[in-house]
């Protein structure tokens, strides 16, 4: 158990650069995303993670480090988090990481977090491109940290972190001792806009780049070859089929009920 000292509380917040949710996405020859064809933005849920980290820092002091893994353009996403107020950045970048699945990604991220003395690691609960919601749990497992996922509120007191974990029936109050890993949902806060001053200051903040060798990860543990899962085939979503029009000749209600029942909606 670790007592958090307000001067030294260290938060690592993990962010991912994703294709703009509204953009038309295409896959390359190796069935990975063609990043060149779409605008890249910070994964929306990660904005909530950054905001929560900054709020905790405002309440308790300490330091916020933003961590991201991805090709060179990922710098833009790291800069955005820095302009919101994070203190420094870590960019995990290596051609060997291309095509990493969730398991491989969690290895690289865990290695990048390891040894930084983080009291709290914060993630958004899922990315808008892969939507698997597993990376936070995998990273927690690799680091041997308690995981408090799907949090709609986070508070730190002494050496304890307490969250409301969103469930189907409401929420559970979950508590763990620090250091710990938290993932947040969008209900948790309203992410701030970067201030003009923050944007100007971001370019002067330190961003450390780390490659696979720096992480102590070998090329066969990550990337397309080192991933446990692979995309064998992908097909475009079929065009929307024509709907069924029910004309109400007095028995419209019955016809709709029959239709819904046939589709197993009711």
């Amino acid at each position: 158990m670790r007592e958090v000292d307000s001067e030294t509380m260290k938060i690592v917040v993990c962010v991912k650069q994703v294709p703009d949710s509204w953009a038309e996405k295409t896959l390359g020859a190796d069935n990975t995303l063609d990043r060149g064809s779409v605008d890249a933005v910070m994964n929306e849920l990660d904005e909530y993670a950054v905001e929560e980290a900054l709020r905790l820092q405002e309440a308790h002091g300490g330091e916020v480090i933003v961590l991201s893994m991805g090709p060179s353009q990922t710098t833009d996403t790291i800069r955005k988090a820095l302009s919101m107020g994070a203190d420094s950045g870590v960019h995990v970048i290596d051609d060997g990481l291309h095509g990493s699945d969730a398991v491989a990604t969690s290895l690289a991220l865990a290695k990048a977090i390891e040894g930084r003395g983080a009291d709290l690691v914060i993630f958004g609960s899922e990315s808008t491109d892969a939507r698997m919601s597993v990376v936070p749990a995998m990273v927690a497992e690799r680091l041997g940290l308690p995981q408090l996922t799907f949090s709609s509120s986070v508070s730190v007191e002494g050496s304890t972190v307490r969250t409301n974990r969103v469930t189907e029936y409401g929420y559970d109050v979950v508590e763990a001792s620090l250091p710990a890993l938290v993932s947040v949902v969008e209900k948790i806060n309203e992410p701030r806009y970067p201030s003009f001053k923050g944007i100007m200051a971001a370019k002067k903040k330190k961003v450390e780049t780390v490659d696979l060798a720096g992480l102590g990860v070998s090329a066969d543990q990550v990337g397309l070859a080192g991933s446990w899962s692979a995309v064998e085939e992908a097909a475009a979503r079929p065009p929307k089929a024509k709907g069924t029009i029910v004309t109400d000749d007095g028995a419209g209600g019955t016809a709709i009920a029959d239709f819904l029942s046939a589709q197993k909606f009711i």
């Binding site: 800069r79 955005k80 302009s83 701030r192 806009y193 970067p194 201030s195 003009f196 001053k197 923050g198 944007i199 100007m200 971001a202 370019k203």
Partner: protein, 412 residues
């Protein structure tokens, strides 16, 4: 400078995001619902820390001016002006102007007159005490400002036909007159009132003085908003002064001995206003061009997108030429300011003349390109065309800009 820097793009995108969430969905309410623009503008300022930056900059300026005064009083050498930091980059003002003008140019008029014209009129000629009393709240929009020069019978001939007067009355002044087309007039908390000192001398020889008035002073009446062609999100009104009694503390500079009879002070303000108009024009042009390109691709007539027709292509190409030219003028004005220089009065006039005409032409051509839809309010270019027109009229008409440019050329 030939493109926005990475930081400037981040600022632009952040402001655009705010405007898309906070203003675009409510544009109908601001344009036609008489909802004053000030609350949302204050939110914009606070969100991006523009209010805090303005306060800090003002504090540094006053500290410097105090140091200069003290040094002068002691007969010591005057301290050097501290070098400007990133915070005074003019693009930080230009980018919000451009982005706001894509959606609601009236907002910029309301904001610019309050923080720009009114604050600058006091900040450039006022005493330190006057600056501290009125300027900080104007810079942050905590107080709404109006700058009152135009009168029913005095527009382009602002000083020649001015009828508003100040008469001495003991240690005080009595102010009289009526002003019209005053941006923010209906809601202004702080008003800079420009008038002539009536000493019984002929009007042409009278000094021009500026006074700072607060809303609610006895004898001061502020009209409700006037109905107008465009810029509906910017409230415009009339002011009526009937024996408004003011002390010397409200006379800008606290002296009647103003350089060039007071005309220079107003001229500085004109210059600033004119370069701001170019940024406004750029916002209108960018939005019209983007909407027009989208429409030319989507709108199908005679079995093909209208963008395939050369007459439509000609419109788009002319819009792009205008966008490039106005953007270059804006870049130039930013670079000139960053180099610590200012535009000359004639340069500012040329920039304003060209940009205002370009914005009106582009917006009207956008309406034409959209055809019947362009004439409908739903399609946005209709509002922008109405809004653009005033750029050729306010802050000095096209005709006056031409005179200013020609005068400067012929004087050389």
């Amino acid at each position: 400078m030939f493109e926005w820097s990475d930081e400037q793009v981040m600022i632009r995108d952040a402001v655009r995001d705010f405007i898309n969430k906070e203003i675009r969905p409510r544009v109908e309410e601001f344009e036609h619902g008489d909802t004053p623009p000030y609350d949302v503008l204050r939110k914009l300022f606070a969100t991006f820390g523009m209010d805090a930056m303005a306060r800090e900059r003002f504090k540094r300026q006053i500290e410097f001016e105090r140091a200069v005064e003290e040094a002068k009083a002691k007969g010591e050498p005057v301290p050097e002006k501290p070098t400007r930091e990133g915070g005074s980059d003019p693009s930080l003002t230009m980018l919000p102007i451009i982005e706001l003008c894509r959606v609601s140019p009236g907002m910029v008029t309301a904001m610019g007159v309050s923080m720009g014209l009114t604050a600058a009129a006091i900040n450039s000629r006022g005493t330190i005490a006057q600056k501290e009393r009125w300027v900080p709240d104007l810079l942050t929009l905590d107080k709404v400002g109006a700058w009152a020069i135009t009168e029913p019978d005095s527009g382009s001939d602002a000083f020649g036909s001015m009828k508003s007067t100040a008469r001495r009355d003991g240690d005080e002044y009595l102010l009289n007159g009526s002003k019209t087309f005053i941006t923010n007039g209906p809601y202004a908390d702080t008003i800079v009132f420009i008038c002539k000192l009536d000493e019984g001398n002929p009007p042409a020889e009278r000094k021009i003085l500026s006074f700072v008035l607060d809303s609610g002073m006895p004898g001061l009446e502020q009209s409700p908003p006037l109905r107008k062609m465009g810029m509906h999100s910017s409230p415009t009104g009339q002011l009526f002064l009937n024996d408004v009694r003011v002390g010397r503390d409200r006379l800008v500079g606290e002296t009647e001995d103003v350089p060039s009879g007071g005309r220079e002070g107003a001229k500085d303000t004109f210059s600033m206003e004119r370069s701001g108009v170019a940024a406004m024009a750029l916002g209108i042009i960018e939005e019209c061009l983007e909407l027009s390109v989208g429409y030319a691709k989507d709108r199908v007539q005679f079995g093909q997108p209208i963008g395939n027709f050369q007459l439509i292509q000609e419109k788009l190409a002319r819009m792009e030429v205008a966008r490039l030219n106005v953007e270059n003028l804006v870049f130039r004005s930013i670079e000139v300011a960053q180099a610590g220089k200012g535009l000359t009065f004639a340069e500012a006039s040329a920039m304003k003349l060209y940009s205002a005409r370009a914005a009106t032409e582009v917006a009207m051509e956008a309406v034409q390109l959209f055809g019947g839809n362009g004439y409908m309010a739903e399609y946005r270019v209709e509002q922008l065309a109405r809004d653009a027109k005033v750029l050729q009229i306010y802050a000095g008409t096209d005709e006056l800009q031409i005179v200013a440019i020609a005068k400067d050329l012929l004087r050389r």
